[in-house]
Amino acid sequence: MQNTIASSLMGKTRAIASLTSNTLADVFSKETHRFTITGLSRSGKSMLFTSLITLLKSRSEEGLACLPLLRYLPPSRVLDMHIEPIEGYKPFPHLKNIESLEAGDWPEATEEAYGFKLVVRLKQTASIKRHLMPHSDVVFEFIDYPGEWITDIPMLNKTYAHWSDSAWAQLSSGPQQYYAHAWKQVVNAFDFEQTPTPELIQQLVSHYRDYLIKAKANGISLLQPGSFLLESSDFNWQDFGFTPLPSSITSDVSHLWYRAFEKHYSAFQKDWLTPLKHSIFKETDKQIILVDLFEGLNHSRQHLYQLKETLSHLADTFVYGQSGWFSRTVLRKQQIGKVAFVATKSDLIPENQQQNLLSLLTQVTEGARARFNDKPIQFEHFLVSAMQVTDEGANKDAIRYTNNDGQYVESTFEPLPKTLKEMEEGSHFPVPSVNVPADFKARILAGKGIDRLLQFLLGKGE
């Protein structure tokens, strides 16, 4: 801690020692906002990042009128904007994602962590300050990472036996029970008296992974370990894999299979989860938590309840910190953490039903919000469409879009439930499968809610 403080002070002193009006501006007029965007897999993180960069670039470089509610960065004050890498992270593949959209494909799901800084240079308006410090920089730091990782972080606080028992209970109940049957049959037929060889472990892990993949494809959100779902995962699950086992085995600490999986589980915690938590989920004052309600609406009420449970479990992963030591102690800046719960892809329902979607979002986040009742945290719920892919329908309950077969169709929605309880048992709202529109850039710029979200996170509560 002492070293950190000393090096922070040394850094500031060194920068001040070489003052010119520009460097003076760099030292004192730099405002850094670290955004951690958290979201389960398929919640639309990569598309949101792609849209965000496109929107800010179009606004500052091309002067296009977008993000009208972002009063924190008035277009008349923006001098320029550029992207810088963050040390230790691969640069975000913005251009690759744009190329994918141009080719008619949605950006690929994130399979590794990406980081980038967006530096917006603003001209100074105050008359005296203008001569001393001609500009000020607002730096946004964004980290994108696979949503599968976040579901694994709560495993850090559990022993193997604890995790195995809860995972086994989960896959035996709720909507996942429909997809776990094959896996359970494998376990029932498996001879656990055999010595756990690497081949046998791989065989069992492979069957468990098949369940995870099948459940994910059917809208199940609470899947652990999510890292096993990624082919290119940095954790070697092929050699150090594990699965939940029946309690008859996990209750016997001397059982060979228990000991083998317990060892692998410890390696998973120590070599994978601990460094992951420290590198990505570190202290931040602004959290965006993306929630894809359509995964629930697409399937059933049970799926929505499960999403609520998942978010509640993940709430401990979210880190709500304060500003850095220098600004907190020297500049006396005490910041309140801000958390935004965001339902993405809001354009996939008619506009007159968006209030119901917002109300549903508020209910789904209840458990997660309860975790920061005693913390200085300001929170808000938002609906966001990173790209306005749908058009108005013939009536207020309808939307129009081009589907995956290239046909322009109109979908008419029955009223969306306002609460989980109102969601009719045995019914669902199939999510529209939308093609990437040819005019995707204009539709990104026509997207709704991102400006409102940024203004909440950056603004001073106005």
Binding site: H181, R400, V409, T412, H428
Partner: protein, 309 residues
């Protein structure tokens, strides 16, 4: 659920869909890119196309006077109107045109005067709404009030240009407070800033004219002219035409300004006489008058801003 898996496998429920989809026989409409904010080009004086109504009135007036002269000369010469019906009708038509245009101009002055009062009422309503962030008002109501306000801006005015930008950026899901915030950012604030810029420029011009004016009469005329020009130009920024006669409050400020300028002239003359008729005394006198003229013009502009804000 696969039938092969087991007899004990829980059967996966079939869900009833709440969405019905039909194929359309039309192509998806293309979304246009938003306009560029940087296209903030608005000229105070727009190039007029063709003959303006003012010129036509003047022209017709001059023609009528000339016509009467000609007609008078003609009747004098012929001494018989009945014998020359064509000449009489031409001159009569020109006179009718002049009277008609003059009447229209007078009507426009009256309408401009009324418009200022309506704008003042609107401005108060907007200020109230901004103060309580549109509380108790639905977004559609706020939108309708703002539209009504925006529609009053005269074509080609800076305010109308800003209102167009507001209309482009307005989105259907915006709340009352967000609509008001957007209106403030895209219309009210830029218009205010532009008005201030125009006023500063006009005040400098007023000062310059006062500085170079050789005598008090020319100086007073210059101040009157620049004052009317300031009112006209600023009204053009706000998109409201107060009329040449304008508002009584403005006229009062204008009269006060002219009186103040007159008193100031007398005072500076007296000081210059006391010092002596040297070139430096004349320079000092003119400088002081220039500053006063600029300040008085700024006062007039501020009164106008206060009225229309």
């Amino acid at each position: 659920m696969s039938g092969k898996s087991s007899e004990n496998a829980p059967s996966r429920p079939e869900y009833k869909t709440k969405v019905t989809t039909q194929t359309l026989n039309i192509a998806q409409p293309e979304t246009k890119l938003p306009k560029q904010i940087t296209e903030d080009v608005w000229e105070l004086e727009t190039a007029s196309t063709g003959v303006s109504l003012g010129s036509a009135t003047l022209g017709l007036g001059v023609l009528s006077v000339l016509g009467f002269f000609v007609f008078d000369a003609y009747t004098t010469l012929t001494a018989s109107m009945a014998q020359h019906p064509i000449g009489t009708s031409v001159v009569g038509a020109m006179l009718a045109g002049f009277v008609g245009c003059f009447s229209f101009l007078s009507f426009r002055e009256w309408r401009g005067y009324k418009q200022v009062n309506t704008a003042m009422h609107d401005a108060k309503q907007l200020r109230d709404m901004l103060a309580n962030k549109g509380a108790n008002l639905s977004p559609s109501k706020v939108s309708s009030i703002l539209n009504k306000h925006g529609k009053r801006f005269s074509k080609d005015s800076y305010a109308a240009h800003c209102f167009e930008r507001y209309s482009q950026q307005r989105q259907s899901d915006m709340t009352s407070a967000e609509l008001l915030g957007l209106y403030e950012d895209t219309v009210l604030t830029p218009v205010q800033e532009k008005a201030q810029k125009v006023l500063n420029k006009e005040s400098v011009t007023a000062g310059s004219l006062a500085f170079i004016s050789p005598n008090n009469l020319i100086q007073t005329l210059a101040v009157v002219w620049i004052s009317f020009r300031t009112i006209r130009r600023m009204a053009k920024v706000y998109g409201l035409r107060p009329g040449t006669a304008g508002n009584w409050k403005l006229l009062k400020v204008l009269a006060q300004n002219i009186a103040a300028q007159g008193i100031f002239d007398l005072a500076t003359d007296e000081v210059a006489n006391q010092i002596g008729g040297s070139l430096s005394a004349k320079f000092m006198e003119n400088s002081a008058e220039a500053i006063a003229a600029g300040a008085l013009n700024a006062r007039l502009g501020r009164a106008l801003i206060k009225l229309l804000k």
